[in-house]
């Protein structure tokens, strides 16, 4: 058990961060609908338990890589919502100077190495980050997210194998929300699923309820400790995205039945934590209010920020 983390994490901390993510995502989505945000916005509403559970199960010095649905991961790891929102708005004050956008936010200052848009492609990077950390004697773990859709990208298995033969401090996190855009996981994923698959590559695996932030955090701690000791691991979190994949598809009605969506709404990670940990309603409301204030501030910050100059756009290519 990683006492460094568990001791300092209270359920209220978890709740506060989940509330922050929820408000951020809601605000971003609305801004996107108002065309204030260009490109696309992949919302993680409904999946906050995973983001917060994993981030709080890691040490601050640990690293993280994410994918196209990464706002929650970033915020949970400590990225400033103002600078993340500014990035979504494509502003020069954004974490990636407004050149990356929603799918390419990086903030080295808190170990959030970045999100990548090509499904599965951040996974091998984590292996290299683990290799560098091991060579530097840092004891830092690199956690990398991918979805149920990514489990059919071969590079995921190549990466798990590499981490396994080299005993690297890597934690593979599969955020299984049952769909890749419109495609149900079971229709395109044969056999026993990612955890069973990964186990045959010699890594430790756990499958947990992703709506239960505490369970995610505990599983993360266990696997991260093992990873630090040289046994990489894979954590599968069962969760659900409450909204559509992006703007173009509705939350339900086409590929997902209304009942299914409603069933999952009953398993909202914020509610589950509040009830499970017996948090006082007022405390939660207060935290939500705080989150709301921070996000409004973040929105204002983003709106007020300038876009990158044309000169900036030619910078940071090579040399």
């Amino acid at each position: 058990m990683s006492t460094e983390t568990s001791s300092r994490v209270s359920p209220l901390d978890l709740y506060a961060r989940m509330a922050l993510i929820r408000r951020f995502e809601q605000a971003a989505y609305r801004a996107y609908e108002r065309n204030e945000i260009e490109g696309t916005v992949h919302s993680s509403i409904g999946q906050e338990g995973v983001a917060v559970g994993v981030a709080f199960g890691l040490r601050e010095s640990d690293r993280m890589l994410s994918h196209h649905r990464g706002h929650g991961h970033a915020l949970a790891k400590g990225v400033d919502p103002r600078r993340l929102m500014a990035e979504l708005f494509g502003r020069a004050t954004g974490v990636s100077s407004g050149k990356g956008g929603s799918m390419h936010a990086t903030d080295l200052s808190c170990g959030f190495l970045g999100s990548l848009a090509v499904v599965g492609s951040s996974v091998p990077l984590a292996v290299g980050v683990g290799l560098a950390a091991r060579r530097a004697g840092e004891g830092a773990v690199c956690a990398v997210y991918f979805g149920d859709g990514a489990v059919n990208q071969g590079i995921v298995y190549e990466s798990i194998n590499l981490a396994s033969i080299w005993s690297l401090p890597v934690l593979f996190v599969c955020e299984n929300n049952s769909y890749a855009i419109t495609t149900p996981a079971e229709r395109v994923t044969a056999g026993e699923g990612i955890a069973a698959r990964a186990a045959t590559f010699g890594v430790g695996t756990l499958s947990v309820d992703g709506q239960d932030a505490q369970a995610v955090r505990e599983a993360t701690e266990r696997l991260a400790d093992d990873a630090r000791a040289g046994r990489p691991g894979l954590l599968e979190c069962h969760t659900y995205r409450f909204l559509g994949h992006s703007r173009s598809d509705p939350a339900h009605g086409t590929y997902r039945a209304r009942e299914e969506v409603e069933r999952w709404h009953e398993r909202d990670p914020l509610t589950l934590l509040r009830l499970g940990a017996g948090l006082a309603a007022e405390s939660c409301e207060e935290l939500e209010h705080e989150a709301q204030t921070r996000i409004e501030d973040a929105l204002q910050f983003a709106r007020d920020s300038p876009r990158p100059s044309l000169e900036d756009l030619e910078k940071d290519v090579w040399g």
Partner: protein, 367 residues
């Protein structure tokens, strides 16, 4: 669909798929979320028409999907693999380049791979660097592949029907900026009757001896003062630029290449000799991109008959930035107008001097 209705480019693609699948029962579509028609609607409704056996949603496994398409194509099932964004094509590129393009050659002609790869090109939707890229020179440079880059709804239809009759692999590069643009569409009444325009006789186009009929380049707009050699979305903005220039008394000829491989160099030479001033347009970088090949073709086909150096307009040598800033990287109607102004003014004394100092002046990035 009435013969003269205007339809979006993406609908023309769907119409071609639908008509071809009706005419040829072997055709199978492979791609992610294609039964839902996600994300641009090119395949919406086709699963209902032809069944899930022929419209197959794949896992996110671009490499194996491409390989599967090749294996099926080489044993009698003509396959269309859909790759939504250029960035994802890289995952299947080994299969496309090392297998699809080479199997016929390496097997001494025994294997044929009638595979069509539909792939989105160019920037679109502000999705940033990994989604948005243009791969025209890359794909044209692969012996064993043909490369279509249609610019209108009609061409999207006709060239896709043509690709779906070809005996060898065709990459169908769809500039995503065209998807929503409308144009007239006439569907083929019967198999083989689409309007590919003048078709080359079995001939030596570019470096390649081609046995099959290949659609030729097309003069999309005639002009006497300069030529824009272009394809795909380039044809749209060149045509816009031509209208603006025309109002200023400058007549820009727009030569729409339609295919980049085989390349209709004869048509390039003809138009270049006609106007004497040529602007080559591309969406990949000037360094290593397709405009180099086009400019070289102009020089080779019209040497001594040009009144100005060949100009090129390509993408800036940067990854695509996020957001609407992406427009900054690629040619636009405005940058074409500026380039043509300089071309037709050549050799205006001031500019001539400028060129003495700074060679390569007429090699332009946009803006």
């Amino acid at each position: 669909m009435s013969p003269d209705s205007e339809v979006p480019y993406i609908e023309a693609i769907k119409a071609a798929l639908q008509d071809a699948m009706r005419a040829d029962e072997t055709i199978v579509l492979l791609g992610q979320d294609i039964s839902a028609g996600f994300p641009f609607g090119a395949t919406r409704g086709l699963a209902q028409l032809f069944g899930e056996e022929r419209v197959r949603d794949t896992p996110i496994s671009e490499a194996a999907t491409m390989g599967c398409g090749i294996g099926a194509a080489m044993t009698g099932t003509r396959t269309v693999v859909e790759v939504d964004f250029a960035g994802f094509l890289l995952l299947g590129l080994d299969q496309l380049v090392n297998n699809a393009a080479k199997l016929r050659y390496m097997s001494g002609g025994q294997l044929r791979v009638p595979l069509v790869v539909r792939v989105g090109q160019g920037p679109f939707g502000s999705f940033a660097a990994q989604h948005s890229q243009s791969q025209h020179a890359w794909l044209a440079a692969v012996p064993g592949l043909a490369l279509c880059a249609p610019s209108t709804a009609q061409d999207a239809y006709d060239l896709l029907r043509w690709a779906l009759r070809a005996g060898d692999p065709v990459v169908f590069a769809e500039d995503m900026r065209l998807y929503r643009r409308r144009g007239p569409l006439r569907r083929a009444a019967r198999e083989g009757a689409e309007h590919v325009g003048e078709s080359a006789p079995p001939a030596r186009l570019s470096a390649l001896d081609v046995q099959e009929d290949v659609p030729r380049a097309r003069v999309a707009r005639t002009g006497r003062d300069a030529t824009a050699v272009c394809y795909g979305f380039g044809t749209t903005i060149a045509t816009q630029a031509a209208a603006e220039l025309s109002a200023q008394g400058i007549e820009l000829e727009v030569l729409d290449l339609r295919l980049l491989s085989p390349l209709d160099e004869a048509a390039i030479g003809e138009s270049a000799r006609h106007t004497g001033r040529v602007l080559c347009l591309g969406d990949d970088p000037l360094l290593g991109g397709i405009t180099g090949t086009l400019a070289a073709a102009v020089e080779e086909r019209a040497h001594g008959e040009l009144s100005a150096p060949v100009a090129r307009l390509g993408a800036r040598h940067v990854p695509t930035p996020f957001g609407s800033r992406e427009a900054f990287v690629y040619p636009s109607a405005e940058s074409i107008v500026r380039a043509v102004h300089r071309l037709v003014a050549w050799p205006a004394p001031a500019q001539a001097q400028e060129l003495e100092i700074e060679h390569g002046e007429l090699r332009m990035a946009p803006g």
